[in-house]
Assembly symmetry: C2
Homo-oligomer: 239 residues x 2
């Protein structure tokens, strides 16, 4: 069940048997969480971090109006609040989009790791930096891309992130988000998200039904998105 996370790490750096043992030793236990729960409230003091073993989560920032923006969608293998280790409290909420299985990692164990395993420390630091890179790409989308391009881009990004952890098939992947949730990730209204989705279908780039996304024309989708996966930093790292 830790395997998704190990796959995610190994897609970026080599992990030795010893290091893998250390990683396995970080987690003290697992839990199940229902769908549509706020797992971590903004501002709450944290003494452990959460590894998403299975399911979908999102980070969400809210305005007084009730409008909210998802700043990242999380999939299996993501260390959803690793940044909470260095920050001690979060500036946003973390909520479940589906039922999830999670692993708990006490900050004291991370602290020990920082003292003893410099290479792993840098690897986990890197993971939080990749999240930041995902945020930056989202800023580019929100600031400059059209609704179509933005949605296409999100589908491309999730495709790769799911492939890394073995949760995609060649033709697509399970995408258990409602259109409202999609719209909250894309900075659109539900209505316009719906119309944008229809336009992607009409162009025969994707199909989406029964919570399954079929990518009919991947190069076409990537073209619309102007997608360049470099920001996901997949591939061997020299350290």
């Amino acid at each position: 069940m830790l395997s998704a996370h190990l796959k995610k790490l190994k897609a970026r750096i080599a992990i030795s048997a010893e290091e893998e043992r250390v990683i396995r030793g970080l987690m003290t236990g697992t839990r199940r969480v229902r769908a549509d729960e706020v797992l971590i409230h903004a501002g709450a003091e944290l003494d452990h971090s959460v590894l998403l073993l299975d399911g979908w989560m999102a980070r969400s920032k809210d305005l007084q109006s009730g409008d909210r923006q998802f700043t990242e969608i999380h999939v299996a293998g993501d260390f959803v609040d690793l940044h909470g280790f260095a920050l001690k409290r979060l500036d946003h909420e973390i909520l479940t989009l589906t039922e999830c299985q999670i692993g708990l990692v006490p900050h004291e164990r991370l602290q020990e790791m920082v003292g003893r395993h410099p290479r792993l420390t840098r690897a986990f630091w890197m993971l939080t930096n990749i999240d930041a890179a995902i945020h930056r790409e989202a800023a580019l989308s929100l600031g400059q891309r059209s609704a179509m391009s933005r949605m296409a881009h999100l589908f491309c990004e999730l495709f790769i992130r799911l492939e890394i952890v073995g949760k995609a098939s060649p033709g697509g992947y399970e995408l258990p988000l409602t259109q409202r949730e999609l719209s909250e990730a894309l900075g659109l209204t539900v209505v316009h998200a719906n119309r944008t989705l229809q336009e992607l279908r009409r162009r025969e780039l994707i199909e989406l039904e029964n919570r399954h996304l079929t990518v009919l024309n991947r190069p076409g989708l990537e073209g619309v998105a102007e997608f360049d996966p470099g920001y996901l930093y997949v591939g061997a790292f020299p350290f």
Copy 2:
């Protein structure tokens, strides 16, 4: 000249004399860079990171059309590509907005620090996480806030970040950005950035002339922005 960076760190955690010595030992030298230069190109391999000692920089992501999005504005004291230490190459460019003085920090010295100073390691890790928090707040702005609110929010954020490093006065601060640069940070066109600026002036919230921003009504400005500085993580940390 390192003092701005030390102020920035100390606004978040206590730094011992010994740690301060280590920090001072990271930098191998300083350089001057002219305005409007690309200091670091996207994708280039990095073996050192850059500390911004004085001046203004921006991180920029580009689309094929030539449109670009600034994902962060940097001021004195910022470790502009500390994330390059863990990522080895950047997904964006770093460019100077004004003439800048920079300090160079070889990655090997950072690597040594990670091995020897777990507390400092966590502190620098925290700094990259605060950048990520700034990205998330920008995503909320770009996705949900109006042009007015967005611009007001940026002015509020810069006010606090400049106060931390002693570069603001009670009434405002030097803001050497052109309207084009402002618009690239805000995901707006220059024309609309201009009109938005005028509306903020008309409401007597700010004045902006000769590259100096005067905040006429800070609570008012923060109100328009729905500004809550929590995401900047200013204040003592428990580690």
